[in-house]
Amino acid sequence: MKIRKTLAATTAAATLLGAGSAFAQDPYTIGITQNNVGVDSYQTTYEQAFIAAAEKNANVETVVLDAGGDVARQIAQMQDLIQQEVDAIIIWPTNGKAVIPAVRQAHQAGIPVIVTNSNIAEEGFDFVASFSGPDNITQGARAAEIMCDRFKDLGIADEAQIVEITGQPGYTTAIERSDGFTQRLPEVCPDVTLVESQPGDWNREKSQKVMEAFLVKYDDIDGVYAGDDNMGVGALNAAKAAGRAEDITFVGATNFAVGYEAMERGEYWGSIYQSPVDDAEAALQTAIDVLEGKDVPFLNYFDTPKITQENMDQFTKPVF
């Protein structure tokens, strides 16, 4: 009862004072339904960062829910949030397609929906206010720049040959990271040739086998670009076994703990730093911006900086 009264009082005060001062503003209630907290440390860190960011902001109250990977539970949580009349809903989809009707329900109830981390399918774009997450094309392009800069330092930018190990075929993330790289590379290093590209399916062992085949096939490999560090380290292991790791520059499109450790050992050159903390803070900020009526781009990417052996001391080791 007390809470209600205070709330009513603040609302009244806000109305009297006008919307000018943020202090007297009625706090926004933002609900979030996450994919599967606890299944990996990225998602766990994301949740902690989200709660911490929300606590720091006096204008925001949050309802933090987790679908536990279950689509049905996520849909029920969406309905609950709609029923509770929250001001905005952030969703980390368990299934980019199955949640579309639930997202439409929120849209029809006049509640803006912000999709976080991985986007829903195109059929649902009409019902989404904004997507907040990493830009895989940029990650690929930046990885190309890291690779090129390294070759320039080594003085082999005019003749270097590289191979690529991509993520699982058919996954948008895999396709975008590859496209970003292959488009950017000829712009910065036109004389570097990409001799072959093979899928490593996000799997370290698979990637190791792919790299073993590459090493047999090509006598001269100067660089390896992998869709993430997990696969990059698989390739590194293959090169180490063949005694050729010293001559090769390894670059990934997303930094993992294994990649970070290999960088510390001086075996792995660089990657792209994607922080769950930035991811969570960006999602919350996007929701607030949407509620405040700011002009938010439909695809609202957060920054994913380059990390190499040279600047890695500015970054903490990834949690995943």
């Binding site: 109250e61 949050t62 539970r73 029920a76 029923q83 509770q84 397609k97 199955a98 009707p101």
Partner: protein, 333 residues
């Protein structure tokens, strides 16, 4: 005599008392802890609760029948997923293309047929081999799930048809489609159990199989019919749910068998068979959904929800055992 009736009422209404307790607790706690302006007992919220209970609830009705019968079915989650795959995939089969939106009822029928066939397979194996239903359906749980993965690999099966979504989200007398299906099914299964010979036999076979055989009940075919019923209901639950969401992941429905069994046991049905009621199962389903919803309402996380449901399951069974002992008055520790 009157005392007997009162005792029976306490025993049978344990789950309803529990639901009332939950409602009071969440209304009071929600008042202080929830961010929502709306009360927990809000009418719309209760309607939503019924709707959200439907997927587990519809299957739980079938599980009650099978468990009273002295069997169990662990394959319902996989049946749920496979029926959804058949329903959503068949909507895009070229032979149905001329039907337009009339493909929807055809796909529904195919999904329900799938569920009945899978149930019949379970029942037939139990009947002909005499292997315990727990083992048979443990095997078919893995086998049916394998079929789901064979169908479409790791990819989700997807068919977004807004007409179908609108049907699934429609309201009749203020009740949403899933709620209506749940209520109608509850009534039908109750009638079946209490007003038909087959229903009486369900109890008789579960209570004492040998006596039932001696009384002339053909136990094998009888049990097979019950497995077909639960297969049908698992598929019906799938039809209701996936008509509204339009996409099924190959992992969907995993652990549903455990939630369903939890609900049935909460409702007081005996694992050993012979006793149970669908009305009480309905209560068990509501109790679980209330807990999930209520704990979410006051801001507890999923891990906490599971911990609480697990503890309550054990507590309720203990209480049930105590009440029954006192009721029977024979076991003294």
């Amino acid at each position: 005599m009157q005392q007997e009736t009162r005792k029976r009422m306490i025993k049978e209404s344990a789950i309803w008392g529990f639901i009332v307790l939950e409602l009071i607790f969440f209304s009071v706690a929600g008042h202080f802890l929830s961010l929502s302006e709306n009360a927990f007992m809000d009418f719309e919220n209760m309607l939503l609760l019924l709707k959200q209970s439907a997927p587990i609830g519809i299957i739980a009705l079938g599980m009650t029948v099978v468990m009273i019968n002295g069997n169990i079915d662990l394959s319902v989650g996989a049946t749920f997923a496979l029926a959804a795959v058949v329903m959503l995939d068949s909507m895009s089969w070229p032979i149905f293309a001329p039907l337009g939106d009339w493909v929807i009822p055809v796909s529904w029928a195919l999904a329900l047929l799938t569920g009945m066939v899978l149930g019949a397979i379970n029942g037939f194996i139990v009947w002909k081999t005499g292997v315990d239903a727990f083992i048979v359906t443990l095997g078919s749980m893995l086998g049916f799930r394998g079929l789901v993965f064979m169908y479409n690999g790791e990819q989700p099966t997807f068919q977004l048809n807004w007409t179908m979504v609108d049907i699934a989200e429609a309201r009749l007398f203020g009740l949403q489609t899933p709620t209506l299906v749940l209520i109608v099914c509850t009534v039908l299964v109750w009638l079946m159990l209490n007003k038909t010979i087959h229903g009486r036999n369900v109890y008789a076979v579960g209570d004492n199989r040998e006596a039932a055989v001696n009384a002339g009940i053909r136990v094998g075919p009888h049990m097979m019919i019950n497995f077909i019923i639960i297969g049908f209901l698992a598929a019906l639950s799938s039809v209701v749910f996936y008509s509204a969401s339009g996409s099924v992941n190959p992992n969907d429905g995993m652990l549903y068998e455990l939630w369903v069994i939890t609900a049935v046991v909460l409702g007081g049905t005996k694992l050993t068979g012979g006793k149970g009621s669908v009305i009480a199962t309905f209560g068990g389903v509501i109790a679980i959904q209330l807990l999930r919803k209520g704990l979410g309402h006051i801001g507890a996380d999923t891990a906490m929800v599971n911990l609480v449901i697990g503890s309550i399951l054990i507590a309720v069974l203990y209480l049930d055992k105590q009440l029954n002992r006192k009721g029977d008055g024979d076991l003294k520790v």
